[in-house]
Symmetry: D2
Subunit: 276 residues, 4 copies
Amino acid sequence: MPEPLKYGEDVLLVEEGKGRTFLVRLEPGGEFHTHRGGIRHDAVAGLAEGSTVLTHTGHPFVVFRPLVGDRMFKVKRRTQIVYPKDAGWIVLALDLRPGARVLEMGTGSGAMTILLSQLVGPEGRVYTFDRNPGFLENALSNIARAGYADRVEAAVLTAGEPFPVRDADAAFLDLPSPWEAIPAAAEALAPGRPLALIVPTAEQLKESVRALCEAGFVRLETVELLERPILVRQREGVRPSERMTAFTGYLVSARKRLPSVPDDGPNAGVAVDGGG
Amino acid sequence: MPEPLKYGEDVLLVEEGKGRTFLVRLEPGGEFHTHRGGIRHDAVAGLAEGSTVLTHTGHPFVVFRPLVGDRMFKVKRRTQIVYPKDAGWIVLALDLRPGARVLEMGTGSGAMTILLSQLVGPEGRVYTFDRNPGFLENALSNIARAGYADRVEAAVLTAGEPFPVRDADAAFLDLPSPWEAIPAAAEALAPGRPLALIVPTAEQLKESVRALCEAGFVRLETVELLERPILVRQREGVRPSERMTAFTGYLVSARKRLPSVPDDGPNAGVAVDGGG
Amino acid sequence: MPEPLKYGEDVLLVEEGKGRTFLVRLEPGGEFHTHRGGIRHDAVAGLAEGSTVLTHTGHPFVVFRPLVGDRMFKVKRRTQIVYPKDAGWIVLALDLRPGARVLEMGTGSGAMTILLSQLVGPEGRVYTFDRNPGFLENALSNIARAGYADRVEAAVLTAGEPFPVRDADAAFLDLPSPWEAIPAAAEALAPGRPLALIVPTAEQLKESVRALCEAGFVRLETVELLERPILVRQREGVRPSERMTAFTGYLVSARKRLPSVPDDGPNAGVAVDGGG
Amino acid sequence: MPEPLKYGEDVLLVEEGKGRTFLVRLEPGGEFHTHRGGIRHDAVAGLAEGSTVLTHTGHPFVVFRPLVGDRMFKVKRRTQIVYPKDAGWIVLALDLRPGARVLEMGTGSGAMTILLSQLVGPEGRVYTFDRNPGFLENALSNIARAGYADRVEAAVLTAGEPFPVRDADAAFLDLPSPWEAIPAAAEALAPGRPLALIVPTAEQLKESVRALCEAGFVRLETVELLERPILVRQREGVRPSERMTAFTGYLVSARKRLPSVPDDGPNAGVAVDGGG
């Protein structure tokens, strides 16, 4: 049985029609003030998700628990966040699964950390690093609000320093100079495991690719994703929207290769066919 | 410690340079024949992921475990598959997490089922349906090869029939006439939970949106994703690739709203502010 | 020798740095007031194009004659205009050249009429029609301001009525229901000559294509153009802009085929090989 | 009255259904061999454009005069050509019109030269330059075939050398290092007039923009155009094509500014408001 909305949890209020949304933590006696009138928290607590509530002026809002994408968009932002379209691509590139141990450099506002935490689950771990203590503090507060504080280990760290992590299942880099962190990320990853990164300019993309190749990564993919909203109107017809977020970043994924050790014996790192 | 590659598991052989890939199940005494010469399975078993092996003619291949995206692309196809770029978007739209119970209509070749299974983990379940028994059989074989057979429950079912599932955490529809399955999917979903679908044409998109609205879904998003490969060459420079997969489908996500019951009392479904 | 800017002609004032632009007709004694201070027309008349003038508060503006694209964007708008990116495509589809006689249905604000007029030159003609007399009046004023009134013949006409034009070299349709005008446009075109149209939705595109096929057009091309602004910053780097005009319309081009007359003789419309 | 197709001119044969096209020069007694059987030129000469002819095996082809876009695609190629979508954008950027005098550096295969020549008309001139005599020879043959030889003046010239042209109305650069030709192009342009260029990589784009700014150009626009084919099927529905030409080049346009001369008098180049 689905659990009713209860005090202490976050609720997404969705204005009917317009679709404006608000993320609110339910508290006994609380009241939320919208441009369409107030909603008493006590009228929401106990309802099932998907119920409709009216403001005191009679405007309907639908109440939901936030999805992970809502959480990501609603974090208190101190930095640019990774957009859901890019985040989805990264999830596949990183081969995420319950129990995975993931390294993240560039916590930023923690939007991506929330997604990674949700997907690795309570058995997994996200080790996240940022050189800016203020960003990290804000991110941890966002992560705690999403309920994932116990899956996340965070620390201040500057790109280029070694990561205090070994045999990570995946690594994600979101920082201006990812090439500075690539050798250390290669050290922290288990052999063969994937790394992904996002950068905003062609120059940074080029430098990142150079650093990945130098660090022995293979299977490089370099792409950009465009998400195009489509307007679907039953009478007027179907067409792409006139405006869109036209660019968010270049995405790279790659896999860590083991260094080919000098061939001084039949089983020496490079498996010569016929050896063994 | 990372586990070495062992007999009985699938290995992705990645040709150096060209990047052609082959998915091979390791068997004692087996041999894999590429256009670049043969590779003995016994030379691969026991290696760490990311190691390099040579064919008998001396061509290097790097050996990896397949990532979930490799699995999706390498399924034996009886149908069009959901592309990773779209699959990543759907993962976020469906708010996946370990332990989730997900409904899928239109198993097809099982590529998406593999991804859903990996993300819900051993505690989760994917209930997948297709009206074509042949597709389902092929898909189950692909799913079993990926190691996720025990998380998947599959059955033959025609769009429009009720799903034998209740309170599902998410639903994904991939079939030519999703509108036929939308009312039953609404029944199967827990209140407030998300549904996503993919369709190939503007007409199908329109009809799907109409059906979702009729079935009481809200928070509709209708988008299309373009994945643009970028060529990064250290000398020649950076530019988008000249060719791309220009279209794979329109994506829709929505959340299930509870029907607004007639307001015959202070707690009757629609919570009137000030009631309670 | 390039002619200096003179009274009675339009001048484009381009704010230095910001690049805001203003289209101003030079008049003796006139003064133009910008948010950056005033510019006396007498200080502009007599200058060469590309000169810099200062407002009375010392802000520099560069003065140019407007290009045809500036003219198109600066028309007094009563309707949506055809964007330059689409207009360029249409120019090629219509195989324009000096002296050509072009039919246009849906004058709108006259932006496209201005372009067509410039390209057919003083020896050519643009026959333009709109069912809305108010639009036509505004468009003719825009066209006159661009200096092309004597190349344009305009009349009020409803889609479906025959055009008072024969053997036109090209036809362009920009109206909500182009299919209503397609048979008449086919009548007005010289055999083999091209027609182009623009429509905003998938449904209108489909119906237009149906009507073109029915009217015997062949060589149909149906495309959409996306113009993506690129940010080029010497220090920060190169990347696509974050915002763009994501959709303006679907474009169609086609060529008029002669009806295949019943084959009642060796030279009867359909040339049977061996006939003649 | 439209003129019938006659010997000595080029005809575009369009296969019915498939839409494969062939460009053929009609000659008395000639025969064209397609994969669908032969067509005797004598059966085509004398027909109106848009007529249908049958091969000796009975396959129908429609006959047209080539449009300028057909000419551009059908040139004998020694180099990459400018695509029509980009060419249309350039036409607007260059503010073309009958009688204009246009400078082109990087003749290549002459596709763009053909378009420029058609649009400037018999009163205009295209001055085109390439450092490769072989390219130029091939281009001139393509241009002659299109009938525009007498509007074009061509010469071998290396980027960086001064152009033997002054007060040109527009300039177009299509070469690997446009920055080398930009100062000379600025010399050759009339003040205030537009320049456009196309380059394939982000690095070349950046360097070109730097050179344009240094040479005093303003009103820079830097864009990329994507042309997306749309499939329109009456039964199956409307959707973008699965494949597209995903990238052809970055486009730049700009206008030549006059150098601001030191302000040593009331009329000295920079018009100080209140001066004159």
